[in-house]
């Protein structure tokens, strides 16, 4: 609980530090990425099921919002919820055959799924605008209050992120969360103690897709322009990196991972062409030396540091 209050204070107060600056804009994206990282973490960290196609669900949310509000002039808030339900349903149905697979096969199947979704965005030009993208998506508004500045979008996005975070935290502490972790450790054992592993995996897949879809809708409305390139394989890998760097199975870890990877380019800007190298190296080094991610790695390091201090004091 203390952690959550800390987190809330940071989220509410951060704008005071950065108000008006460009970092606010980056933080809006950090919020969207946090949502996505949490979504993927529910699947990967809790249920132990990999997905290399989550950018696809993110894209479905974004495109449904974009198309329904520009072409069919529907209410954006209605579309966000409808898109989320539709994406969830889609993932639910797809989940049955997909999640039957394990390990690398699952990675490949989700990857293929992501690519197929990407190709559909690219080719259905009449609706999505194809590779040139879809522009003119309206900004969200409540009455006459329009979310048209970074600070307003910041509170909107992070408001939703906090809600999703609470949901995820509750889920992980609940019976379902424990069941998921049982699947993660040993699916057979979980089945033996009476958990319907198959249904549970599919359900969590659907929930994860629903959250991704909401993130996509918010992305579409805050940027007001979308194109398929933002929803490709590379972004799926980036999401995976966020989750791994943050720490598998840690909701706060996802927050740290998303924040770090969203801000990283800001620090690497001077490095020009080297950022892709640093990115790859970071991913590998994290996995080799801090396999628990930041969420577990930082306390571990602190402990070790404390112990070594104590050790030298005794000597």
């Amino acid at each position: 609980m203390a952690k959550f209050i800390c987190f809330m204070i940071i989220v509410i107060l951060a704008p005071l530090l950065f108000e008006g600056g460009y970092i606010m804009n980056v933080l809006v994206f950090a919020g969207i990425n946090t949502m996505l990282a949490i979504a993927l973490n529910l699947l990967l960290g809790y249920a132990g099921q990999i997905s290399l196609g989550h950018a696809g669900f993110f894209g479905i949310g974004a495109y449904l919002s974009g198309i329904m509000t520009t072409v069919f002039n529907l209410n954006p808030w209605f579309v966000i919820s409808a898109a989320s339900v539709a994406t969830g349903l889609f993932a639910f149905l797809l989940g049955f055959p997909v999640l039957k697979l394990k390990g690398h096969y699952l990675a490949m199947a989700t990857l293929g799924l992501g690519i197929i979704i990407y190709i559909i965005f690219n080719e259905t030009i009449d609706y999505t605008g194809g590779p040139s993208g879809l522009s003119g998506i309206p900004q969200l508004s409540v009455g006459s209050f329009v979310f048209d500045s970074d600070i307003r979008n910041y509170y909107l996005v992070w408001g939703v992120t906090v809600v999703i975070m609470l949901l995820a935290l509750n889920l992980s502490e609940s019976r379902v969360g424990r069941a998921l972790r049982a699947i993660h450790d040993s699916e057979i054992a979980a089945r033996v103690v009476g958990i319907n592993t198959r249904l549970l995996k599919v359900q969590i897949f659907a929930v994860s897709a629903m959250i991704s879809s909401v993130a996509g809708s918010l992305y579409a409305h805050s940027v007001t322009f979308i194109s398929p390139a933002s929803f490709g394989f590379n972004f799926s890998v980036e999401l995976l990196t966020m989750v791994v760097i943050g720490g598998l199975g840690s909701i706060y870890g996802s927050f740290l991972g998303a924040l770090l990877l969203t801000l990283l380019p800001e620090f690497l800007r001077g490095a020009n062409d080297y950022d892709i190298v640093i990115y790859g190296a970071l991913l590998m080094l994290m996995l080799m030396f801090m396999p628990g991610g930041l969420a577990r790695g930082i306390p571990e390091l602190l402990n070790r540091f404390k112990n070594s201090l104590k050790g030298s004091g005794n000597a």
Binding site: V237, Y274, G280
Partner: protein, 293 residues
């Protein structure tokens, strides 16, 4: 639809499919001895092509000398990758292995971009650019090289796994790592071997396709994915099944582009891949508990 058109689609598909097969075999060799899907496999394809280019253009080596040098260097990279990234991994769960090889592939691609720049480069063909006419269709001499070299490498591969001690040892690792270790096989060395062989295969693929398709630092991603598809269709075998998988994928793609829709052709191959995974995860040709090498 005329016959010569169909023949052309077929031949183009076979030529592309042979490339996929060769890359796919690299995947299955590593998978079979270690259980790892090496997502960096495509990068060795890229390395092969670009290294061969550097050896011919910068060091002015003739093509026949540049090719072995390029293969040697990329094999070295493969060995280093195994020693520095895969072996030290503390928790080698499938997910961690997938992620670390993805990390490795990004790193190799990034470094290659710094070395070779972002431009596309062309390698000279092995033997001229006069098209060869078969029936009403045409292929390039390079296509014949590709099919020939793929077949040759697969035969060598087969011989190695069934008729040499270290090949047999590797198969033993694939069946049961613990048991292999108990009878005195150095399992870790076999893992290293498998990375060496597959990076060599990858770089050969990269070199022989570069004259046709050209090459750049980022060609590895798509070629790697297609090779992976071929391996999965073939049930991760390192023999003819993967070749058949590659050819099937190549022909489907080419027919899809020619007869149905060029925009959706990749979607068609991935949908088929999904269907195979859903209904026949052991591969199109495998028995359900089939041999893996």
């Amino acid at each position: 639809m005329q016959f010569d058109q169909l023949l052309q689609f077929f031949l183009s598909g076979v030529a592309t499919g042979a490339i996929y097969a060769l890359i796919g075999i690299g995947f299955s060799i590593i998978y079979n001895s270690t259980g790892i899907i090496n997502f960096a496999q495509g990068e060795f394809v890229m390395l092969g092509g670009l290294l061969a280019l550097s050896f011919t253009e910068l060091l002015k080596l003739p093509l026949w000398a540049a090719i072995p040098c390029a293969i040697a260097v990329s094999t070295l990279v493969g060995a280093l990758f195994e020693r520095l990234a895969i072996r030290p991994l503390r928790r080698p769960t499938p997910i961690n292995l997938v992620i670390i090889t993805i990390g490795g592939s990004i790193l190799i691609r990034g470094i290659s971009m710094l070395i070779w720049g972002k431009d596309t480069h062309a390698l000279p063909p092995f033997s001229g650019e006069e098209p060869v006419i078969i029936g009403g269709a045409t292929v390039m001499p390079q296509h014949i090289w590709i099919v020939g070299i793929t077949l040759l490498l697969i035969s060598i591969n087969k011989f190695y796994f069934f008729h040499t001690i270290s090949g047999k040892a590797m198969r033993a690792c694939a069946y049961n790592r613990r048991a292999a270790g108990l009878v005195g096989i150095d399992v870790r060395r076999m893992v290293l071997f498998s990375f060496i062989i597959s990076s060599a295969f990858g770089s050969v693929a990269g070199i022989i396709v570069a004259p046709l398709t050209m090459t750049a630092y980022d060609v590895g991603v798509m070629l790697g994915l297609k090779g992976f598809c071929a391996a999965i269709i073939g049930g991760m075998s390192s023999g003819m099944a993967t070749v058949a998988g590659g050819l099937l994928l190549g022909i489907l793609e080419s027919m899809g582009a020619g007869l149905i829709s060029s925009g959706y052709k990749d979607a068609i191959s991935f949908i088929i891949l999904l269907l195979i995974l859903f209904f026949r995860p052991q591969g199109l040709f495998g028995k359900s508990e089939s041999e893996r090498v």
